[in-house]
């Protein structure tokens, strides 16, 4: 007998037969999801916060976890980020060439900052990415305002390591994509219907309290997280 058969056999021998049949079981399950929805729904503001209010809350939550966050218009953010990166001494930044945001940032970068394209498999330039790149730029799929969380869905254009390996992670998130909390994000985006191979919920720079309960930033992931929340004119209305 395989381990699989042995384990499932022992579990099946112990599961009590459903007393009231499949209908009762289905009704009970619907109850569980309804209870979860009611719990998180009851704690959410009514009427729902506007994108501008969500952006303010997102910014405050990010600052509370030691990230830097700015609200900026859709025509302002490339210059803002370029100036900040120059000040911080960034020399090489991973920026894609495929998205409009990637191209806008590239166009705004001064000569002192070299944009690097992630256009090869990681194994072809692993040492270079780990050793020579100062920052990685990503556009978040959405954000969670209550906790200052970025919802990152890495793909072929923006691979997983862009937001992970460089010491500075620079993220852009649109105010109109912000959700009140994790429960709202999961349901509004219907995560259960299609999960990417990797979905990352990132809240601020990496941290640890493993040495005598003392909080330190920049453990293994990014040491600094910058987030620009784009509040364009349509959002403001």
């Amino acid at each position: 007998m395989t381990a699989r058969d042995a384990i499932l056999g022992r579990l099946r021998a112990a599961v009590p037969a459903a007393p009231q049949g499949a209908h009762a079981a289905a009704a009970r399950d619907a109850g569980l999801e309804a209870r979860i929805d009611a719990h998180f729904g009851a704690r959410r503001e009514m009427p729902p916060l506007s994108p501008v209010q969500l952006a303010q809350r997102m910014q405050a939550a990010l600052e509370a976890v030691r990230a830097q966050a700015w609200c900026a218009g859709s025509d302002e953010w490339p210059a803002l980020l370029a100036a900040r990166m120059l000040e911080a001494g960034v020399r090489r930044v991973v920026v894609d060439t495929a998205t409009p945001e990637g191209r806008m940032l590239r166009a705004a970068l001064p000569d002192a900052i070299e944009p690097v394209a992630f256009d090869r498999p990681l194994q072809d330039w692993k040492a270079e990415l780990f050793g020579t790149v100062d920052a990685g730029f990503t556009v978040a799929r959405s954000g969670i305002a209550a906790t200052g969380t970025l919802v990152l869905a890495p793909d072929a254009v923006t691979p997983r390591t862009v937001s992970l390996v460089p010491p500075l992670h620079v993220a852009l998130v649109y105010a109109h994509t912000l959700h009140a909390d994790l429960h709202a994000a999961l349901h509004a985006e219907r995560w259960q219907d299609s999960m990417p191979t990797n979905l990352v919920l990132a809240t601020g720079p990496s941290r640890t309290s493993d040495i005598q309960q003392t909080l330190a930033f920049g453990a293994h992931g990014p040491r600094w997280t910058w987030v620009v929340i784009v509040t364009d004119k349509e959002t403001a209305q």
């Binding site: 699989r4 498999p121 780990f130 390591t161 040495i211 330190a216």
Partner: protein, 481 residues
């Protein structure tokens, strides 16, 4: 850098180790401070008690729902992950799990494994097993790295190096990491750890991690961490192996939302941790990074024994937050190493007997005053004190008694002498004639009371009957018996 082999401590020496821990003022100070810190952090997250109690109800309901459907959910998880291109393995024992993982390493010619935090891998002593076969394992969680460097084991399931001060760690780094001067500055120590381990992520052939939750509907492994070492371990090497106990699966991804909130707030007092890393398959065609092979090892190791018994099944509701140990007056005084088990504290006392058998773990359930703090803080409402009492009963049951769900090591603390004393006692109290005879004999022959009275006299003065019984005294005062 040298990594010494890990100590292996037998849990049956619990009494001796607890005594040693109690006599170590340095250790007691470390734990006292750490427990107060973690209790405060948790409290700061649960200001609204009504919300906490409702969330605990939800957490319990989600876990109980998952356990009720466990075999079907494991099959569903296997099917969804397999469809996504992952491989799912089943291991009934630690030996099987180790052999599976070594087999994957051997197949790929892997020499170096970088590890994210995984208590299941501690449970099966994976590092030992692989290193004996020429595969190096390096822990990358800062706390795990520190205890590995010191040749120790974690003393807490969430904060592995909680027994060490920053001065201890400063000396450890200076002694073991080349070109490292002593410092007790925490920021500098963390930066040393970061730089030392960075190249290891680049060089590793395999990344190994645990799993906090798994969703059967989407085939998602949900990993919770702060440092980013978990993401690096599961992203940079070409192969990712995840290992989890069979109880960690839940029915739906959305069921994890309340559990994740309970876990981070109970464990470290954070509304969320820095990363929730949701993995639903290996690298897809066109993606430029991420592991090309993803393996999931499902580990039983005694969990099906707890599952078989309706009362003990609640043990498997655990989400490994560590709140029970943070609030346990016994754990706070003796620390995690005294237990000698992978999982210390109250959860360790109720889980370890299923993993290791009662022969070596029966004492753990007695290391409790049954104050109830563990049950009060448990985010998924495991009735820990009730289960401690149940395990004491099982440990004292006649080893040959036939019961519906016998536990490994039933009757490990069974003593014929103790059983006879209790039988005599209940017999004497149940029959007035026998009781009067006993009373008469005991008061007259009190000088003959034995000086050694089983376990009682190990810590207490011997019991000696009074010269006159209460009934005699009452009669002397003119009151009827």
């Amino acid at each position: 850098m040298t990594v010494s082999p890990m100590q292996f401590v037998p849990p049956q020496d619990f009494h001796a180790r607890s005594r040693a821990a109690l006599d170590d003022p340095h250790l007691r100070q470390s734990f006292k401070g750490a427990m107060a810190f973690l209790q405060d952090k948790r409290r700061s997250q649960f200001g609204d008690d009504d919300e906490l109690q409702r969330l605990r109800d939800l957490g319990e309901a989600v876990r109980r729902n998952a356990l009720a459907k466990l075999p079907a959910l494991l099959e569903a998880l296997e099917a969804t992950l397999t469809a996504a291109g992952a491989r799912v393995h089943w291991a009934a024992t630690p030996e099987e799990a180790n052999a599976i993982i070594h087999g994957i390493a051997a197949e790929r010619g892997a020499r170096r494994v970088i590890k994210g935090k995984s208590m299941a891998s501690e449970e099966i002593e994976l590092n030992h097993y692989l290193e004996a076969r020429g595969v190096a394992c390096l822990e990358s969680d800062m706390g795990e790295y520190i205890v590995q460097l010191a040749g120790e084991k974690p003393s807490h399931i969430v904060m592995p190096a909680i027994h060490k001060t920053r001065a201890d760690i400063g000396r450890l780094f200076a002694d073991h990491i080349p070109d490292t001067a002593y410092t007790d500055d925490v920021d500098r120590l963390i930066q040393t750890g970061r730089h030392t381990l960075r190249q290891a992520f680049v060089d590793a052939d395999i990344g190994l991690s645990g799993v906090n939750f798994a969703a059967a509907d989407t085939g998602t492994l949900w990993l919770v961490e702060n440092e980013g070492n978990g993401r690096l371990s599961t992203t940079v090497p070409d192969t990712h192996i995840a290992i989890m106990g069979i109880e960690k699966v839940v029915e739906k991804l959305e069921h994890i939302v309340p559990l994740a909130s309970l876990l981070t707030r109970s464990a470290t007092g954070q509304a969320v941790t820095t990363y929730f890393n949701l993995i639903s398959g290996p690298r897809r065609e066109g993606e430029l990074d991420g592991p090309r092979a993803l393996h999931l090892v499902l580990l039983d190791n005694g969990r099906t024994q707890a599952y078989a018994d309706e009362e003990l099944r609640a043990t498997l509701q655990c989400i490994r937050c560590g709140a029970c140990m943070n609030h346990c007056p016994v754990y706070a005084r003796i620390g995690g190493h005294a237990y000698g088990t992978t999982y210390p504290g109250p959860i360790g006392a109720i889980l370890s007997p299923h993993l290791l058998g009662l022969e070596s773990t029966a004492d753990l359930a007695t290391a409790s005053s049954l104050c109830g703090a563990c049950g009060d803080v448990c985010p998924v409402r495991i009735p820990i004190p009730k289960l401690l009492v149940r395990l004491r009963t099982e440990a004292n049951r006649d080893p040959h008694a036939e019961v519906d769900h016998p536990l490994k090591g039933q009757g490990a603390k069974y003593s014929r002498g103790e059983r006879m004393v209790w039988r005599f006692w209940s017999g004497a109290f149940a029959r007035p004639g026998a009781y009067r005879l006993f009373r008469w004999g005991a008061t007259r022959l009190r000088a003959l009371a034995p000086k050694e009275q089983l376990g009682w006299t190990r810590y207490r003065t011997p019991l000696e009957p009074a010269p006159r019984s209460l009934a005699d005294l009452l009669r002397a005062r003119g009151q009827p018996e």
